[in-house]
C-alpha cells in the first residue's frame, strides 16, 4: 500500500442525543444542513480541499443514512485506487468483541486500518461541526513546532469557556494545562475536537491505554501524552466554526447562512463544500409565492410564503402557508394555509392543511427541558401531522400522529408526542 503522509479519522458514530427527534433515526453527522448538505459534508470537503485523500469514517449509531450518503466517496472525489474513504463500523474479533466505547477506543479498534497506510500523521476529526479549515496549514504548524500532538483551538467568550475543554498555553503555543469544562476558566482557548497526532505517539498512547474504559481523547489520551512530557501545541483557529450539537445552535447556524453576506459563505468558488447531489431539477416559485430572505434547495415547489428560512430539496409548501424562521429538510410536504413559526421539520415529513406549528408562549419541555428549548417546535423524520391542529413551542413530535393525539386539536407548549412509525414509502 502506498504510504500516506497524513490520513484522517472521522468520528461519526455518535447519536447526538441533544438534537432530540432529529437524530432518532440517523446519526448526527447525517443530519441535513443548509438546504442541501449533511453535517459530515463539511469535514469531508475540508479533507479533500486540504489534500487528504484517505479518510476512515467511524460509524456506530444508526449508520444507514450515513453509509448511503458516503457510498464510495464519489461526491468528495474520495473514490481512489489507493486510500479514499472507508467506512469503519465496529466489528467482531476473535477475542473480545465490543462496540466503540469512546472516541479513542474507536480509533484504537482501527489500528490496522491506519497501519496499512503507514502515515506520518493522523488527523482526528469529528463529524458534527460546521466550518471550513485547511488542515494542511495546521499540519505545517505541527511540523514547525516539532509537536507530538496539535490541538485546534478557538478563542471563545470567557463567560462561555466553562462549556468547553480549555487549553492554557505558554507564549510559544505549547499547552501547559487543560481544564475540562472548568468553573473558573483561566484561558478562553477552547478545544475544537480536532487533533493532529504524530503516528508513533498516537499508536503508543492507544496501546498503553487500551484497557481504559470509555477511552476518550480529551479525558485520557491528551492527559496521558502531556504527563509523559510530550509536546502538545494549541493551534489557534479564528475562522467560522460552529458546533451544531444542540437544537438551538443547529437552528442558529442554519439561520446565519441567510444573512445578506453570511460569515460562513457557501457561494465562494474557493473551498467548495461537496455533497451527494441526487436531486437535480430547479426549484419552482409560484405566482403568488413570497420568498423573502431564504435558502431553497433543488426541486422545491413554493406556493406559499417563506420568510427567513432554510428549505431543503424537493420540499413542497402549499398555497396560503406561511413559513417563518424555520428549517424544513428534504422531501417534506407542507399543506395549505398552515403556519410554521420557529420550527425544525426533518426529512420526509407530511404536515396537513391549516396546521399551526409554533404558537403561544414558551413552556419548559416536560420530557427533556434541556433538549427541546429555544422556543423551537421540532418534528422528527417521516412524521405525519394531521389537518387543523395547533402545536406550541418547545415541543417535539415523531411518528404518524392523528387527530386523536391532539386533544382539542392542540398540543400545548412543552409537550411531546411519540407516535408509531408509519409504513415507509
Amino acid at each position: 500500500m502506498m504510504k500516506k503522509e497524513m490520513i484522517a479519522m472521522l468520528l461519526a458514530g455518535g447519536q447526538g442525543s441533544r438534537l432530540g427527534v432529529l437524530t432518532q433515526k440517523v446519526a448526527k453527522p447525517a443530519v441535513a444542513f443548509g438546504g442541501k448538505y449533511r453535517i459530515i459534508d463539511f469535514p469531508l470537503s475540508n479533507c479533500i480541499n486540504s489534500g487528504i485523500d484517505t479518510v476512515g469514517v467511524l460509524t456506530q449509531y444508526q449508520p444507514l443514512r450515513l453509509n448511503t450518503h458516503i457510498g464510495i466517496g464519489i461526491p468528495w472525489d474520495l473514490d481512489r485506487n489507493e486510500g479514499g474513504v472507508t467506512v469503519l463500523p465496529p466489528y467482531e474479533k476473535s477475542t473480545n468483541s465490543e462496540w466503540y466505547t469512546g472516541t479513542a477506543n474507536a480509533i484504537f479498534q482501527n489500528l490496522d486500518y491506519m497501519q496499512q497506510y503507514n502515515p506520518d500523521y493522523v488527523l482526528i476529526l469529528s463529524g458534527d461541526h460546521i466550518y471550513k479549515m485547511d488542515y494542511e496549514v495546521m499540519l505545517n504548524y505541527h511540523k514547525a513546532n516539532k509537536a507530538d500532538v496539535t490541538i485546534a483551538c478557538m478563542p471563545v467568550p470567557i463567560e462561555e469557556a466553562s462549556r468547553f475543554g480549555i487549553m492554557v498555553t505558554d507564549e510559544t503555543g505549547r499547552v501547559a494545562e487543560f481544564e475540562e469544562k472548568p468553573e473558573k476558566p483561566s484561558s478562553n482557548l477552547a478545544s475544537m475536537g480536532i487533533y493532529i497526532f504524530s503516528w508513533p505517539v498516537l499508536k503508543e498512547a492507544l496501546i498503553a491505554l487500551k484497557d481504559q474504559s470509555n477511552c476518550d481523547f480529551g479525558k485520557h489520551i491528551l492527559p496521558y501524552c502531556k504527563d509523559k512530557g510530550q509536546r502538545l501545541f494549541a493551534y489557534e483557529y479564528n475562522g467560522y466554526w460552529k458546533d451544531v450539537g444542540t437544537l438551538g445552535s443547529y437552528w442558529e447556524a442554519n439561520m446565519e447562512l441567510i444573512d445578506i453576506i453570511p460569515e460562513f459563505n457557501l457561494y465562494e468558488e474557493f473551498w467548495k463544500i461537496y455533497t451527494k447531489g441526487d436531486i437535480i431539477p430547479p426549484q419552482y416559485i409560484a405566482g403568488d409565492a413570497v420568498t423573502d430572505q431564504c435558502l431553497i434547495g433543488e426541486g422545491a415547489e413554493i406556493y406559499g410564503e417563506v420568510h427567513h428560512s432554510v428549505i431543503g430539496p424537493n420540499v413542497v409548501i402549499g398555497r396560503g402557508t406561511v413559513v417563518r424562521d424555520s428549517i424544513i429538510m428534504r422531501n417534506s410536504q407542507i399543506g395549505e394555509d398552515t403556519v410554521l413559526d420557529k420550527a425544525i421539520v426533518a426529512e420526509d415529513v407530511v404536515i396537513g392543511n391549516k396546521v399551526t406549528l409554533g404558537f403561544g408562549e414558551e413552556a419548559a419541555n416536560v420530557l427533556k427541558p434541556a433538549v427541546y428549548a429555544f422556543g423551537l417546535a421540532t418534528v422528527g423524520e417521516r412524521s405525519v401531522i394531521p389537518d387543523n391542529v395547533q402545536i406550541g413551542r418547545n415541543t417535539a413530535i415523531s411518528g404518524v400522529t392523528t387527530a386523536e393525539d391532539y386533544p382539542g386539536g392542540i398540543l400545548e407548549s412543552g409537550q411531546v408526542i411519540k407516535a408509531k412509525d408509519g409504513e415507509q414509502a
Binding site: 463544500i273 430547479p282 419552482y284 416559485i285 435558502l295 431553497i296 433543488e298
Partner: protein
C-alpha cells in the same frame, strides 16, 4: 437490453442565431438544470441501453465538458459504456462527417463490433421522455426494417422544420417529405429510429458506396418502397429546440405544472452532470413569481415568468420578465431584462435595459465581472 444507442449531437442550426456560436445544440442548457443531450442520454440509460455512442462535430467543447464522465448517466460500466466520436482522419478518409448517415458510417466499426441485434438512433436536440423498449417491441411486432418515431406537430407553420410522414392503416410509412415548404399533413418524424444492426450496416455501406450521406433522404426516403419502414406514433411531450423560438418556448413550457411533474417528479428521472452548487439564496428585497430558479443563484431583485439557470446573480432593483437567463450570469443593479435569452457567462452592467420588442432578443454581453 437488445440494442445499442447512437446519439447524433453534431448539429448546428443558423436559426439558433448567436446561441450556437459557442456550442452544439445538444449542449444547450435546458430547463434550469439540464443540457439538451441529457434527455436522450437518460432515456437510453433508463431503457437499459448500456452502450451508447455520441457523434459530435460542430463546436463540441461545451458538449465534451458536459460528457467528461459517463458516471452521471450510469454508463461507466465494465460492459458497455459511453463513447464520444468526433471526426478523425483515417487511412481511407480525411473528411468531416458529411451527413447523418456518413457520421454513423465513419464509425461503422462501433456497429460491427457490437453484438446487440438492434440500434436506437436519437438526436441530442430533443426534449422528451421515452422508453425505447416500447418502440423496439413495436418494431419487432411489425417486422419492420426501420421504425421511425412520429408525433403530431401542433403548429402547422413549424412543419417545415421536420420530416413529414404519412402512414397507411398498418402504420407503414407511404410518404415521407423532408422539410417541405408547405404540407397538408402534420405527422412528423422525431428523428428517433430503431433498426436492426446488420440492416443498418448494410444500408450505410451501400449509401457510402453511392456517395450518399444523409440518413433521411438517402435511406428513409430512398428505400421507403423497398424496405418496411414503419411509423411509431407517440403523443407524449416532445420538443425540438433547434430554433431560438422553439428553444425559448421549450424552457417556458417548464413553468407549466403538468410539464414539471412529467419531467421532474416521475421515475426514472432525467440525469445530468452534478455541479456542487449551494442552494439558491433569496435576499430581503427578492420578489420571484412563477419562475424556475436553479442552484447557486443569488436573487436581490424581481423575477417574473422566467427561467434562471445555475449561478445567476440578480442585483438590487432588477426586473427580469419573460426571460431565460443561462448559466453563470451576473446582472448588475437596476437592470431591466424582458423577453430575452441571456447567454451564459454574461456580465450585464448595472442600469442597463434589454427588451425583446418583436420576438426574443439574445443578449451576449462579455463585460468585466464586478468583484462581488
Amino acid at each position: 437490453m437488445r440494442a445499442i444507442g447512437i446519439i447524433l449531437a453534431g448539429g448546428n442550426n443558423s436559426r439558433m442565431r448567436e446561441l450556437s456560436d459557442k456550442r452544439a445544440i445538444a449542449a444547450m442548457p435546458v430547463a434550469g438544470s439540464y443540457r439538451s443531450i441529457d434527455f436522450a442520454l437518460s432515456n437510453m440509460a433508463n431503457s437499459h441501453i448500456q452502450k451508447v455512442a455520441v457523434l459530435t462535430q460542430y463546436n463540441a467543447r461545451s458538449l465534451n465538458e458536459h460528457l467528461s464522465s459517463s458516471k452521471w448517466w450510469d454508463f461507466g460500466r465494465k460492459q458497455g459504456g459511453m463513447f464520444v466520436f468526433t471526426p478523425t482522419i483515417t487511412k481511407d478518409n480525411s473528411l468531416w462527417y458529411q451527413g447523418t448517415a456518413d457520421a454513423i458510417y465513419q464509425n461503422i466499426d462501433f456497429l460491427k463490433q457490437s453484438h446487440e441485434p438492434y440500434v436506437v438512433i436519437a438526436s441530442g436536440d430533443c426534449i422528451y421522455r421515452m422508453d425505447y423498449n416500447k418502440v423496439l417491441e413495436y418494431h419487432i411486432a411489425k417486422r419492420a426494417d426501420i421504425t421511425v418515431v412520429c408525433t403530431t406537430c401542433e403548429d402547422q407553420t413549424e412543419v417545415e422544420r421536420f420530416g413529414v410522414v404519412r402512414m397507411n392503416d398498418d402504420g407503414r410509412i407511404v410518404e415521407f417529405e423532408e422539410k417541405p415548404i408547405v404540407s397538408s399533413y402534420n405527422t412528423i418524424s422525431t428523428g428517433i429510429y430503431v433498426v436492426r444492426r446488420r440492416q443498418l450496416i448494410e444500408l450505410l455501406e451501400r449509401a457510402a458506396l453511392e456517395g450518399r450521406h444523409d440518413f433521411v433522404n438517402d435511406i428513409l426516403i430512398r428505400y421507403k418502397n423497398l424496405k418496411r419502414i414503419y411509423g411509431y406514433r407517440t403523443d407524449a411531450y416532445w420538443s425540438n429546440i433547434s430554433t431560438v423560438e422553439a428553444y425559448y418556448r421549450t424552457n417556458m413550457d417548464f413553468l407549466r405544472p403538468d410539464i414539471r411533474n412529467y419531467f421532474f417528479r416521475q421515475e426514472p428521472s432525467i440525469k445530468t452532470k452534478i455541479d456542487d452548487l449551494p442552494p439558491a439564496k433569496y435576499n430581503p428585497e427578492a420578489v420571484v413569481k412563477n419562475s424556475l430558479v436553479s442552484s447557486g443563484s443569488i436573487i436581490n431583485g424581481t423575477v417574473e415568468n422566467s427561467v434562471l439557470f445555475k449561478e445567476v446573480y440578480v442585483g438590487n432593483n432588477c426586473v427580469i420578465r419573460n426571460s431565460v437567463i443561462l448559466n453563470n450570469v451576473y446582472i448588475g443593479d437596476n437592470t431591466r431584462i424582458e423577453n430575452c435569452i441571456v447567454e451564459s457567462r454574461d456580465t450585464i452592467r448595472a442600469n442597463s435595459c434589454y427588451c425583446g420588442e418583436d420576438g426574443i432578443k439574445i443578449v451576449v454581453e462579455k463585460n468585466e465581472r464586478y468583484a462581488l
